[in-house]
Symmetry: C3
Subunit: 668 residues, 3 copies
């Protein structure tokens, strides 16, 4: 891999209406692109019939890539299977609770099925051994957006029963752990272990989901092991992790434990699709970036993001460029569009690439040219940053599952809480890592936030307690620390094990009705907090619930713990987080920098600042205007240079940003 | 059974996170509770494997109940089956039109399956024989919230065909009764009788539903017969009847004919769950109570109601006590919460009991203590009442089914009409019985209301005609008397057989658009009524429908008949019902009592009055403030004593009620 | 067939609660009715058991029809099958992607199944041979509202594979045509052709739908061929084509290609159900009429329309008569109600006929009497018209399928675009033919409109290009000319092959957000049009999209082409269509008639004018007031006579129309 920021697109000559690889590669080069991702999802072209391989597209790509000096990421093609496999071996199709799935879509096979695995292994070995030595190949993507595809086959039931037997030993232990006596679900013999598809036991369903997420981890490791047999030391292995999808990349992935699964790769990768046009805020780019960077606490790559895609996402002038820099601002080592061209056939013809269906230059292509030129001019060593954040936002897909069963409100999910907390930090320019609860190293941080950490083990609870005791700031929201690892609600005062830390307890919950708190609406649920004598608190505003607190702040040991007992929107959440940040051992820059302090309302969304240290060891600040209005602020930094324009600024100078503009300031 | 009001909760030591039965029973006693309901739904604990019984929980409960002087209602455990049964005999799972159901939930077995019945009989016999002689056991609950669980197995199809053959004899009679020629559904041989799952014949679907409701009746009788073989004469048999569920107990139960099914029990029981907090009106407690009391025209027991339950139902201070008295005001002999503790596991961890998950005292517990103390002080002989209502609201779950097929509007159901009429009576403090159409004894009443009695037999029609002729007041709404028992629309002028009684007929229906009537919106449907010359009527207000009446009043014989040809909300319905009540032979108190007459707007919701006669023969008035405002009215009764405070009042004295307060006035 | 306008109803003595055929026929005659439609959907009555026929109802009908001088249309009874057939041969039930359907409804058999066809042929031959010679029988309806009923059986899969093999020859050709490489769907052997149920390839799904629409064509031809073996030369064959159903007849039928299927019939027929009361506009009567008339460019018959039907459709006084004349105004040779009586049983008891359930005279019947009397008085030779429209609206159910996959917006369908364009023409009194794209003869027209013609072959594109070149006016909307016949998006500048005609191209699409155009909201989607130098255009009003045009007008050859790049509502669409109409070679009357020109705002909806030439060769104008307000305009025509009242008018005289009134003006 060259020491360049990666800039490119997925490329499928297989999908093209006519042969134009030279044209396409020339256009890419003209736009400053330097990398393509290939082969992913093209199994039926690579192996048109069982055991017959046809690599002419791959060979053509590599030959031309060399000619045009493009780097290539080769994907294993396993995320969509050829029809011949389904016809010969229908059992490769995934069986869900709704039965065996019909062939057609991608991501619809049983990733644990031996026949599928046999075929997958053969195509991977054949393909990777074929390409590994080619100098253009810089790395591999194993599979794509892998999940377990709601697999719930009889064989999986059997394996899950075995898993539970290993985990609990006796049926009595199982019955106790999950309270199976309820509704007559207890068993006295493992052969009677109920089919998880019908279970009404959230804990067992949660364990089943976790067990199935682990299948993804195992499958990716299995692919990585195969690929590792061929790859050169300079080639990376990555996966395209994706996020919960709400029409765009929204929050923590339900079906994959990214932290666990990322052990299989050498370079973390992800796709990030986000609202655009009037809805572009950069929050998804930041969330996805912070999540993926935190997997290995190292630079990552955005393997897919939109060029145009849906009609809602065709970028306004300036937005494509702003987006590109936003990925770098999160610590990416580059980005790739999905995909180069718009699809002419099949399912996703509505999804437009860098090129529209006419395959000519267009406004989006022209803006990509600008990005490519700037990046080439400035260089990776200046633009790629690393971070040492002192704030951690803790996530947990086990708690996510719990909230599916025991939601805050009908339409309010775990990720809604996570995103409200995250987005509030983002809008305050408080940068954080996003850390899986099981990978949390509390000593890296001054402030830890636990949005809706419903299921928390004694270990986590004691870890957080010690963190505060030693001087940390803990911010927890409603529905944190409710249950143990089996979704059994703790049978003592809530929040379990932390009532002394937070200086409050609660016994009851209520619907908010018209309840207000600090002038804002208390939404979806109230935990009725009883503060201790030494606790600072904000009460609910309500005829009957007014005797309870809704937000508490409590000194414990050398630290401070904040608890938010209801759902707040960003506007109401931000003042609480601001207050919490001011308790951090090392104050964030916005509380110390004289310019920022004086004009606080200006240094926050839509003006986004994200910082890090580049390879040259310089401190870098990405300053971004996420609005359609032009913007002017006083320069907060002592002495900086805009790497794009070359302009230098002293503290207090006026910094102007056009609509959707970005500047990259290097401290001098 | 002691002569005490029942006050207690369902209790499941099987579900408890640790052994604390002494603590729990001591807390119950402290709160004045005197009864627990046990064993219902704990089959897998009672019989952990096929034929192996383990009664240690039962024995412990009974031993401790004796020690703490608690009464016990033992439930047969059949409403949830153990996993081993499903593993050994998958056929015990109910087969619906969607196929055989997956094990997991409760209420998911085939209650007609011989294997299931064999197992059920064994566990019932074993359990009941084991406990029957224990002095604490005051009664039995057979099964719980029983339904037919959408059973539609091939075997049931066969039995239904047999049923139809018995009912009609010839296929010609069948074809004629249901008009099967339509869309080519007629048959000439019983072997061709179509599968009811696919039927488009509402009449056959209606008969199938009735046939299946009858399965519930038979099943409960079968359980009652078994239990009767063991029970002592002083022990009762009850069932926990529940109502149509709309997130709370809403209206007439679809899947059970309570009247028919209640033959199996010696004491009518039900569960009543209702909105709370700002939505608490008492209407559901009154509706459920009036329904259940009317089954045997005798006191009943509320076997389940909420202590806290959902976040939306956590009671405001005062509400739990107001609710408790409201059950007594309907004629209950007590109430039990579901359940004692909050559930820590499985499905309903969101459902909070008297105790929250921390199992400590809390505000709800403290309010329960207050209830317990007051009830103990005043005593059952003073608080439990019987009623002789002169108004009957007629319900019919066959018409309910008909309205599912031929709705008034997409979202407007049979129960919406029933509840609008009932709730209007309730808010006017006009107390009524709620009587199944097949159990209606017209001579008990001065006024009869038939909301949406779509399917009415000739017998019912002639019964109602005679009732009016002899001086009764009949109030019927739209969609009454439309069809016969087979949902065949009567082929003469509507309303069939009663055009002379109502003094009108109609041929056409219409959508209301912007139609008003008497200043209110005419909603969902208009029946275009043609009044006779001697009929008093209110016309629709509409350019084209204005030539038709929407509400008619007609003298017939010695009585009066009112017809409401459109859907009115409560505000519009109440004036009509008020007018009708003034035609009753014996005027209700609000039209004769001088204080009430002078301040009519004060004696109605949210001020609710419900009355009866207690065991001492005294007239008792429950006066309830269903609002968050304090209230003051002049005392309407000549001379009464508040049984709670001991205060005496003369007519005209000021009576004050705090928000959500109640007082119990005994006439002196 | 007599030379009379057809006026009557479907009649089912089989469904009647008692024998009253004499009463019914006498009532029909009294109302001026002259025709009934019988036997359709009564198979189980005609053949109560396999091979046993019972024609007593048919014989009775024909005997009485002769007695009462009524004409009879005999329907083949095949649209609902008897239960015995399903019991003997379950395979006659249609198998959809959801499995084999359960017996009960109509339209639920496999119309390609040999067993079904054997039975169908026998009952058709037996019935038609039985009635063909009867003098009252004027024609036959083959089947009813035929569709393919989502048929997707394994056998159909096999036939579809065979069809594709015939169409493409090699799998390579198939792979290329549909871009099957995408998501690994390409095949190298026909045995691997994927099951269309699971396909994600819109093109293959589109071909499958077309293939299945063709099954309907074949089936109707098969029935017609059988019936033709018996029918007399004076007897017609018709089918009851229906439209996309949106609670009423809305737009182009999804599941039948009416144009192709109408080859089987000698007289085009259809059913038209439409909103009524405040929602009555006449647009559906006009749309259905224009569609059906255009099938054979000849008079058609409305075989079903509502008398009362739903509560929403009970007509206001005057509406039934207005509706009846509206059918004639589209060129119908008469209309029949569905149905004579209201249904007393089964599924459609909510659907009221000419007679309500009481089977007595009623307001609707009385208005029918008025229609009957007027039509008899005036006569068919004066009232029935033919048309030579110079405007064609082009429809295509293949594009309809494409838009299901690639919608303009989540809820915006192909038919929404079609209806907005059609309804705008209708409200402007610009009469048009509605022509299937494959039957379009461009030389018949001066103006052609292509709403959302997504899939357009090179042939169509070149046809339209030549049409404009030679002087025609072409009006196309967004999502026209996007793809070829396989739903492959054209890989050059859009709109493919017509950029020179329209004088613009576009590469990008966008969501409108707050975009306006010409003061109206641009809805759902923007195509970002780049106009050529000589193109007249209207730009989008938007900060970023304002640099693009949204509506273009361009001279090409001797003609003019308009393109509308976004979704406009009727109010915004009408000015564009008005402008386009003014470019027509022969100007429509509204632009030349002096009275109309001077009072343009008066000559448009709710005042609807529809014209033609009657059998006597006179020009006839139906003038209709679609509003509840009385209306007065100056007479636009030189010298006319109102055929109903006999009043004569000179140009400029005042013409008054009551609410929902119609007059029929014959030019003198």
């Amino acid at each position: 891999m060259k020491e360049e920021l990666l800039f490119g697109a997925a490329y499928y000559p297989e999908y093209m209406p006519y042969d134009r690889i030279d044209t396409d590669f020339a256009m890419m080069k003209k736009a400053g692109m330097n990398v393509i991702r290939v082969a992913e999802s093209t199994w039926s072209t690579l192996e048109p019939s069982d055991g017959t391989f046809d690599f002419h597209y791959i060979d053509l790509i590599l030959e031309k890539a060399a000619a045009y000096d493009l780097q290539v990421i080769v994907g294993t093609p396993t995320y969509a299977i050829p029809s011949w496999m389904e016809k010969e071996h229908p059992e490769v199709m995934v069986t869900t609770a709704q039965g065996r799935q019909t062939y057609g879509r991608r991501q619809i096979m049983d990733i644990t099925d031996p026949v599928f695995l046999k075929y997958a292994e053969r195509v991977i070995r054949t393909l990777i051994s074929h390409v590994a030595e080619h100098p253009c190949v810089i790395g591999y993507q194993i599979d794509n957006e892998t999940k377990y595809y709601e697999n719930s086959s009889p064989e999986l039931h059997r394996r899950f029963t075995e898993h539970m037997k290993q985990k609990f030993g006796t049926t009595d232990a199982l019955n106790r752990a999950y309270g199976l006596a309820y509704w007559s679900n207890s068993i006295s013999d493992w052969k009677d272990f109920p089919d998880p598809d019908g279970t009404i036991n959230a804990g067992i369903a949660g364990e089943y989901d976790r067990f199935r997420r682990h299948l993804v981890t195992q499958y990716l490791q299995w692919q990585a092991d195969i690929v590792s047999g061929y790859r050169r030391p300079d080639q990376f292995i990555t996966q395209n992790f994706d996020f919960e999808w709400k029409g765009y990349s929204y929050g923590v992935q339900t079906d994959v434990n990214h932290q666990e699964a990322s052990a299989a790769v050498t370079l973390a990768g992800c796709d990030i699709y986000h609202p655009s046009q009037d809805e572009l805020t950069g929050a998804e780019i930041a969330f996805g970036g912070d999540s993926t960077r935190s997997l290995k606490m190292a630079p990552y790559v955005t393997l897919e993001t939109e060029a145009q895609a849906f009609k809602e996402w065709t970028p306004y002038p300036g937005q494509l460029r702003l987006q590109a820099y936003s990925h770098l601002a999160s610590g990416a080592k580059g980005l790739m569009y999905w995909n180069w061209h718009s699809i002419h056939n099949s399912f996703e013809t509505y999804w437009k690439g860098v090129l529209s269906h006419d395959l000519e230059e267009n406004p989006v292509y022209h803006e990509a040219e600008k990005i490519g030129a700037e990046w080439k001019k400035i260089g990776q060593e200046r633009l790629q940053i690393t971070k040492q954040n002192r704030i951690a936002l803790v996530t947990d897909n086990h708690s996510l599952t719990a909230l599916k069963w025991f939601g805050i409100d009908q339409k309010t999910t775990y990720n809604d809480v996570v995103r409200t907390v995250y987005d509030s930090l983002y809008e305050l320019n408080l940068e954080c890592d996003i850390v899986d609860v099981n990978a949390l190293q509390t000593d890296r941080y001054d402030m830890i936030l636990t949005p809706a950490l419903y299921s928390a083990t004694e270990k986590t609870i004691s870890q957080l307690k010690q963190f505060v005791e030693k001087g940390g700031v803990l911010v927890s929201t409603l529905r944190s620390f409710v249950s143990d690892d089996h979704f059994s609600v703790y049978a003592d005062r809530a929040p379990h094990g932390l009532t002394d830390v937070f200086g409050m307890y609660y016994q009851e919950i209520a619907a908010p009705g018209k309840t207000m708190i600090d002038g804002a609406k208390a939404q979806f649920m109230l935990e009725l907090l009883n503060p201790a004598a030494d606790t600072v608190f904000v009460s609910y505003e309500h005829k009957y619930w007014g005797s309870y607190a809704g937000i508490t702040q409590h000194a414990f040991g050398s630290g401070t713990a904040f608890y938010i007992g209801t759902y707040l929107d960003k506007a109401a959440m931000k003042p609480v987080l601001k207050k919490a940040a001011q308790k951090m051992r090392t104050l964030p820059e916005q509380y110390t920098n004289p310019v920022m302090k004086d004009a606080q309302e200006k240094f926050g969304f839509p003006l986004i600042l994200r910082s890090g240290v580049n390879a040259e060891g310089n401190k870098l600040h990405y300053v971004m205007n996420y609005s359609e209005e032009d913007m002017a602020v006083r320069m907060p930094y002592a002495h900086v240079k805009d790497l794009v324009t070359g302009t230098e600024y002293q503290q207090g100078d006026e910094l102007k940003l056009k609509d959707w503009d970005v500047c990259v300031l290097q401290e001098l």
